[in-house]
Amino acid sequence: MTTPGAMPPPHPDAHDQSRLAGPWIIGGLACLSILLTALFPVPEPEGVRLWTFARLHNDIYQPAVEEWNAAHEMQVQVSVLGIQAIEQRMLSSFLSGTPSAELLEVERRIAARAFAGPVEAVGLVDLTDRLRRDGLLEGMNATSFTPWTSRGRIFGLPHDVHPVMLGYRADIVEAAGIDVSQIETWDDFIRVLSPLMRNPDGGKRTDRFLLNLWETHMDVMEALTLQAGGGIVDQSGVPSLDHPANARVLAHAVAWGRGENRIAADAPYFNASGNRLLAEGFVIASFVPDWMCNLWRKEIPQLGGKVKLMPLPAWERGGRRTSAWGGSMLGIARDAPNTDALYEFAKHLYTSPELSRRLFQEGDIISPLRSFWNDPVYDQPDPYFSGQPRGRLFVSLAQDVPPRYNSAFSGLCLLRLQAATSRLAAYADRTGQDTPESLLPEAQRILTQAQAEMMERVSRNRFFAEDRAGTTEPGAAVPDTAEIVAAEKEAP
């Protein structure tokens, strides 16, 4: 048996050799890595890159891209990236100069993040003068420019309009002999459809509600505030949470989900649970922007032939019957070479009638090109929506889509709006107040407090404050999309 004490002492050279083998191994591995990296570099993509977040967009764009590539020296390659990957890489590129695509198709919340610094630091090319020169400011739906506008400058070519309608269970409504054409306002909506509420166990638990709306549906809440004339930021990008229209929406939305007269319930958007509840008829009507028709068709096929669309009920008689939900644009990275050619490509892509047609046929998205709105493609009946000419219904509302302004504070404002809605809901539960009238003062108080907190945040951002002061001076030579919108409304 060998004991530690009986072991022979190691040879001194053996100790040295084992100690020196380590650095040689590490050094050898390092050299090998360098050699492999040098010999097999990651291939650089050829030509100009366009990043989009939607596979559907990529599929629709391919013919137009191939057509462009056949006729031009500048070759374009479209890649689909996850929406968060685009966000992170775009922001990294803008903030620290890391490489990104020359053309970026981004969603409006992501674009807003590029607007936090000084206006000259926005990482996208200012397209304002080009758009004006080419008549696109008038040729495209004016409100579609608002999400891409910061301090009076436009940084993207709009992709869409995204009017919002109500999708409703026509099979249930019509079986009850109800005619939805009687509905003009939200009050009418509740009055006309309330016979459809169902309490199978004598009122203990309702298993059918009229409206898919809950205090966690923040996109819908924002759309409702826009419809009512409010919104979370104003045209200069400053938070406008305390707008009376926002308070009105919050008071109604919270009241509709409570008390004996409850009409709203939660069938979450974008998940299987919500889809199942829609299919089961748990809610009669749900908010549907044009692009959501595509989702419904793919994810809830069992609703085919059972649903129809109607304009949103207005907040008052003669009021706006639609809103906006979502939106994306094509922007050009500021550091990209040959921005003129990139702009020409962007225009080729987004103003192509053929692409606009495919955008509707394959993606259900209404083009922002006003000249295209008369195209017969929009008049085709849609079997999924019980034979309604879905495109024409959305186009008829496109002109009335409210402006959805955007700024670096939009994301935080949405968080505040969500917090305010939750606080109002908690207040309603605590006090038993469940009518819009009784909740309105508290809604206004909560929103005023949220606005004050946001304004403190805005006042801290010296970049934003200084630019804002500079561009809002009288006579400043910058376009104001709000003015364009107003002019458009006045036009015959």
């Binding site: 100690r19 590490i26 903030l95 936090a116 205090e215 966690t216 949405l414 010296r462 970049f463």
Partner: protein, 294 residues
């Protein structure tokens, strides 16, 4: 100096070199830069202006920061106070002599720790759904529970703690199990012969023996809990949840630094969090050393 002596002197530096280079580039430099950044308002590195201690002053009056800090503290307290006793209890059960199926049980309890946090978030977002969610359905079937019970609205923090416990109780349990298996059998035997009952043996023999591991697990849980980000991010779709009930410090740091581009304010939030963690570590150290002295 002989060649061998020179080699002996240089070799450690060659070995340490890669680590030191990486440490300098990825730890020391960012650490120093973040101190400098915390005194500036920034829009990326290209645009920044000095605000002195303005970012820290702003933190004091920023309700979102305090909400995030409170949420994180509540989450940490909830996790540590439930996770540690529960995992110790499970370890004691698994450490019982003669227990059959010990290895499979250990694997079953530990396996959730091998699941990525993002997957846990996605799994629990389905489990906690109203009406169609597994938890409400099960409870409704068993006790007539309200199908519309709003886990992810009014009870966000309990939901987060439940999800975390599911994932990490087994992880902590393994540490305790290893510590329990190292408690000298002769000590417990001696205590038993001296007439100590199971509770007294646990309190006066087992607990002191596993105290170092317990201290380590508690500190690990506190640090891990303070860094929570992925779970609420997934469960709340990237937002802070209703009334910001799921907004944690790291989520707020991420929103500020990487979504609105104010790396300066985000650095200040990071340093505030570091101070809180350091304070927790000191308190925990004092408490545990007090116990040892006693």
């Amino acid at each position: 100096m002989t060649a061998a002596a020179l080699r002996a002197r240089v070799a450690p530096w060659i070995l340490l070199g890669p680590f030191l280079a990486l440490f300098a580039v990825f730890t020391a430099y960012p650490l120093v830069t973040s101190i400098w950044l915390s005194t500036r308002q920034t829009f990326g590195p290209g645009y920044s202006r000095s605000v002195g201690l303005g970012n820290f002053a702003q933190l004091l009056s920023d309700p979102l920061f305090w909400t995030a800090l409170r949420n994180t503290a509540v989450y940490t307290f909830g996790c540590v106070c439930i996770q540690i006793p529960l995992s110790l209890m499970l370890a004691l059960v698994l450490n019982r002599p003669g227990l059959r199926m010990r290895a499979p049980l250990r694997l079953i309890l530990f396996s959730p720790a091998m699941v990525g946090v993002v997957f846990v978030g996605m799994i629990f977002s389905v489990i906690f759904e109203k009406r169609t969610g597994l938890l409400n359905q099960l409870l409704h079937g068993a006790f007539g529970w309200d199908l519309d019970f709003p886990w992810l609205e009014s009870y966000v923090m309990p939901a987060l703690i439940i999800a975390t416990l599911w994932q990490y109780v087994g992880f902590s349990m393994v540490y305790f199990l290893a510590a329990l298996q190292n408690v000298p059998a002769d000590l417990t035997e001696a205590a038993r012969m001296d007439g100590a009952g199971p509770f007294r043996r646990f309190l006066h023999v087992v607990v002191p023996a596993i105290r170092p591991v317990g201290t380590f697990v508690v500190l690990l849980s506190i640090i891990g809990s303070f860094q929570i980000f992925e779970l609420p991010y997934i469960l709340m779709n990237g937002l802070g949840g209703p009334d910001n009930r799921a907004l944690t410090l790291v989520m707020y740091l991420y929103q500020t630094g990487f979504q609105t581009g104010d790396l300066g304010y985000a650095s200040a939030i990071g340093w505030a969090m570091a101070l809180v963690l350091a304070a927790c570590a000191v308190i925990q150290r004092v408490v545990s050393s007090g116990g040892e002295n006693a």
